[in-house]
């Protein structure tokens, strides 16, 4: 998740550049460099990574062109792009999933990130009980999403949940209690609220870390020049936070695309598939409907979406490393 900051491959003024070369010669002289020397260290990781991550992903793309039940006893039949045609033209749930995934990503890069930033800015001040505040905001982030889903499901309980009680006490609605999770229009947002609760504290910690890199002298001198809080934030703090903002955004996008547990635990994608997302729909098609072709076609769409969103960041971060060093 960090920026690619490999100093050896970046443009450098002559002096620091010549030093690695010296080392390279030294390394080569003793004969400890090169791919062969690195293999014993690299091989286990590469093997695990290729067998359990890369190969299954390539396989997913391949299987999206086949019709298959997922049972080893059944044959895999090549059908070309038929699964995609079915997905795009005959599967309304697919489009619901796309829509919900987009909603989720967009809301995520706005709400939990700004909330985390505000929390961090507030808690960057010396305050009584600062550590307690930080812990309470952060703890939801270490809980299993499936546990969080169950906690929130209970809070949304139409009869005895917190929200129902609040609505009854304040006489909001018709008095029948809140039914967020069984309302197709609202369900996805109700689950999203749990996501915000869980992830805002993580963003807060990242922003707090980033705030340590904001020069205190710069803030002080801006204050002496008569800048108000907003001007200091806008012109000193925010520019210094830019790398953190990018990392938080990327992490948030990655988290949003793979949201799965929360939805399984709270709505199971329902009611009437209204809260489906791509990650869960792929699983549902493959494992519950036993249609591995369609399921992997959804997975391939998910892969492509991820690459579109993430590759620019990777390129930017490698380039960024070049610019800075």
């Amino acid at each position: 998740m960090t920026k690619l900051t490999d100093t050896r491959f970046t443009a450098q003024p002559p002096a620091p550049r010549s030093r690695p070369h010296q080392k390279k010669n030294l390394v080569q002289r003793i004969g400890k460099g090169g791919f062969i020397a690195s293999l014993p260290f690299l091989a286990p990781a590469l093997a695990a990574y290729v067998v359990f991550v890369i190969a299954p992903m390539i396989s997913a793309v391949r299987l999206s062109l086949y019709q298959w039940s997922g049972y080893n006893t059944d044959p895999q039949v090549f059908v070309g792009f038929k699964n995609y045609v079915r997905l795009f033209t005959q599967d309304p749930v697919f489009w619901t999933s796309v829509q919900n995934t987009v909603i989720w990503v967009v809301l995520s890069i706005i709400i939990p990130t700004s909330l985390g930033l505000v929390m961090a800015l507030a808690l960057n001040q010396p305050l009584v009980g600062r550590n307690l505040f930080r812990s309470v905001f952060y703890i939801p982030g270490v809980l299993a999403p499936i546990a969080v889903a169950n906690m929130w499901r209970w809070m949304y309980n139409p009869n005895y949940g917190v929200f129902s009680e609040i609505s009854k006490t304040l006489h909001i609605g018709d008095g029948s209690g809140v039914t967020f999770l069984s309302d197709p229009k609202v369900a996805i947002y109700a689950v999203f609220a749990a996501f915000v609760w869980q992830i805002a504290g993580l963003n807060m910690v990242l922003f707090l870390a980033g705030l340590q890199g904001v020069s205190k002298e710069l803030v002080e001198s801006a204050r002496l020049d008569g800048a108000n809080n907003w001007q200091v934030f806008r012109n000193v703090t925010l520019p210094a936070l830019r790398p953190t903002v990018v990392i938080v955004m990327v992490l948030t996008i990655v988290h949003s695309i793979k949201v799965f547990d929360l939805i399984v635990g709270m709505t199971g994608g329902g009611p009437a598939q209204s809260s489906q997302v791509l990650a869960l729909w792929s699983y549902t098609q493959s494992f519950l409907n036993h249609d591995f072709g369609l399921g992997n076609a959804v997975a391939t769409v998910l892969l492509v979406v991820t690459l579109i969103l993430v590759v620019p960041y990777l390129i930017w971060s490698t380039k960024g490393a070049d610019d800075h060093r």
Partner: protein, 294 residues
Amino acid sequence: MSTATLPRTRSRSRVQAPKNPRDYVRIGLWIALAIVMVIWAMPMVFVFLTSIKSEADIFSTSSFAIPGAPEWQNYAEALATGNLMTAGGNSLLIALVKVPVGLFIAAAAAFALSRIRFKYDTLILGAFALGSMVPIQVALGPLFKTILDMGLLNNPLGVILPYIGFGLPMQVFILHGFFTQVPKEIDESVRVDGGGNLRLFLQFILPLSKPALAALFILDFVATWNEYAIALVILQNKASQTVPLAIQSFQSQFTSSYGPLNAFTIMSILPVLIIYLLFQRYFVQGMFTGAVKG
């Protein structure tokens, strides 16, 4: 008069410790934070309170009413009817194997990528970086087939191996960032003394990286403990369940026994909470190393 006094107070507040106006802002900020904290703590408090209420109390009293006599029976019932002990054992075993092994493999790879010079190291690092961002669900179907073909369905090893694979990218990346900060002079002195890569790795780089490794260990332990999607596909019988699977099956089995249900949730998150409280600083440190320094 006002024109004469105003500049004075201003210059004073600038030089000396800030007095009244800023204190009020701070108090306001503190109150706002306290309100948000209450909202943030509410789900936990509500779930805990439900977990110690009798059924009658749940149905008749207010959500945040504290029960007269705590109904610990809920916990006993959740333990007796749920699969928490078996699942807890499984989760512990999986995490205690996966985390050290995975971390060691990741460290070795990060060592090779940061300390041994060869042609395609940036490319490999980039491939790892990319892998840390692709959702697990993309690979779920084929992964199931791989594990099935290996005969590891319902076997702890069937999740340990993919967990290692999926944990690697992030760890390699973070450790690579950390290792590159270790001075290169160490390499030279080890090599001049006739030591090889193995000695450099085991006796110098690893010990020097203890803080990063400790932080990653804690973070990875929690992540492994919480993992759901892969476990859902690979561990299909009750005997092999991990804690997240046990939570979900308890939830679907006992939909309306709210007391035991919430007791189950509380017990399932307890280990992670304890780890957080014990190793708090590592969480922050891990995020620091991972996100900012790198």
